[in-house]
Subunit: 201 residues, 4 copies
DNA sequence: CATGAATGAGACTTCATTCAT
DNA sequence: CATGAATGAAGTCTCATTCAT
């Protein structure tokens, strides 16, 4: 039906380029990343990059997309199991460190780059907007689920709280980029989340 | 006694350059902003820029510094008056919209740029780190003050909650950059803050 | 075994750049030579120059180095054969014109540029210093050799005389740059050299 | 008859500019010297320079001219007294160090700059050419005078030897710029000059 | 398919010169 | 006369992209 082998090979090369590009973009930012640099880290030639991606911009978009999807998946995964209320609280409190730990450092750094870029790139912003709504929904559904179990008051605005959680997470990640220690952020997350949970119980 | 006129004049030009640069940096980002562009918007020649700032980098730093100081001042100002617990809660809930509204759009956009840049610029990171700690402290002192009034439980970790508030704020701002509506963010802030306040009361 | 073709090709381009640069540097001097100019004369683009040389400075250094080596080699070559004392005297007297004639005009002009530049460039000065000592030595060894043959008095300070010869040569070249005619310089060389040889015989 | 005071004042300013320019040109070369730099060292403003000299180039010419005249005068002075043949030889042998010592370092460095520049500046070359001939003549007349006293053979080509001396001097100065030690150069001068004198006696 | 040499647009920065005060 | 702020031409260097091999 289709040239499998060749296709697989191409996919592998593509993946190699993407990984290299992620590293570069996170380390140097969109503008200061050079195609030469990406090529070298991927052990390819500059020309080859253009066989797989039309331009530096496109490469960046693909990565953004990739990145966002992965984030959402991982989030859904981590939120999957909660049985008792104790589970809920401890899960929530530990979420930051859990999610953070399993996350590759590069992915978070590049996220920062992505947001900055999106502020002036409508196409990118659209993409991010869609993903952000999805992220909100994943969290919201989780909260709704817990509410149904009776862990939260019925009048809780889960939509608002969900985006609050996401924002809190992002804000703490940003803090870490500024040099705030991880333990500081973790503690902040725990206390704030505990307060929120207590407030809506 | 001192060259007032000349000095004032120079200050005015400097201010013009800074305003122009802020606009450019927010709109295009650090790298895609050109000195030519900044000069044009300031109605000056490229060369003149260099009479006032050593380089594009320095111009950026000065703006970062300016920006951070202004932010902190405005924060302190807004937190100044709280008498009753009702004040406290309504102040807190309305903080986001209040702070946000008075803030110039550019200043927030550039803040985004600043964080992204700081992730790979140690000098800038240091600056931001210092400022962030100060911001935390302003909020924390405010919380401590309210705690002493008996509005919060004595065992509240105000340090952690303070950075939680700041992170929440930043995260919501980021959301807005992605296209999330202001009303959505405001609502999210209100609900989350109300929950936190309830949780620590 | 090795990428001959590519290597040869690159060498050729490099050579083309160097030749162009020599012409430019001699004609306009280090500062007034532009990379654009060098590129055009070499029928290449500006960017290409930077594929072969890191900077204008480096290009200049490479040329200095090349130039000095070539000079020394040619000198050694020309001093190779002297059998009788008549040979010696006539060789010596004709040296200036011989060396001068075979030398490309540009190479001498650039030498002037090199010395001027070296007066304020320590790195360059070091390079020149080393080469100059080598040049002195080549001449000195030649003189020592003649002394052993008994053509000169045994108490001759060949080291001092050697550098005298070199200085005389350089000084006359300089004179020519100022517009003094070649025949004037040749005559001056002949008379002075004859006098020196007579003086140390 | 003329506005003396004002004139004197102007002359003083002019002199200050020239001195400053000499220092700058010797230290940095023609191109790398900035009018700003010259102005600062002269404790004047950039604009003032242009009240006294039409352009950077003109300033350089004036200095070249000054410099050459001074050189010739000092040479004539130093050659003024020679009575016995012993005087002659010892004067000649010590000439290099004498002339060198009384010479300001800057003046020699700038001489280097002047020659390099003249290689591509016809107007300057003309100036230098004229001066060089005058220098040759001063030395030649001196030699002729000594010849008449019977210190040299009658068939000596004093014209050629004179330019030989000058060239030797210049060449040794150039050597010093390359880092060759003064004592080395002095010794070289002595030996070579002694040889020449012996050769033509 | 892969390469990497070549291109050239475009960015930052400097500085001689002018001119209003 | 003196100043120094302003200008803008010009230079160095980088890098995304193309294309012949």
């Amino acid at each position: 039906m289709c040239p499998k082998v060749s296709s697989e090979y191409k996919t592998e090369i593509k993946e190699r380029i993407i990984q290299s590009a992620i590293e570069c973009f996170s380390k140097y930012g969109l503008d200061k990343t050079t195609m030469e640099g990406v090529a070298q880290k991927a052990d390819l030639s500059k020309g080859t990059l253009y066989l797989y991606f039309k331009s530096k911009e496109e490469l960046f978009y693909v990565i953004c997309d990739n990145n966002l999807k992965v984030l959402k998946e991982r989030l859904a995964q981590i939120l999957a199991t909660t049985k008792t209320k104790e589970d809920l609280v401890s899960n929530a409190e530990q979420f930051y460190e859990n999610f953070h730990r399993t996350e590759k450092r590069e992915n978070e750094k590049i996220f920062c780059e992505i947001i900055a870029e999106s502020a002036r790139n409508p196409k990118l912003q659209k993409m991010l907007y869609a993903q952000r709504l999805k992220t909100f929904n994943v969290v919201r559904e989780y909260l709704d689920h817990q509410m149904e179990k009776g862990f939260f008051r019925k009048d809780t605005d889960t939509k608002a709280i969900a985006s609050g959680f996401v924002a809190l997470y992002d804000g703490l990640i940003a803090s870490e980029f500024l040099g705030i220690s991880a333990s500081y952020s973790i503690n902040s997350w725990r206390s704030t989340v505990r307060a929120i949970m207590a407030g809506i119980s």
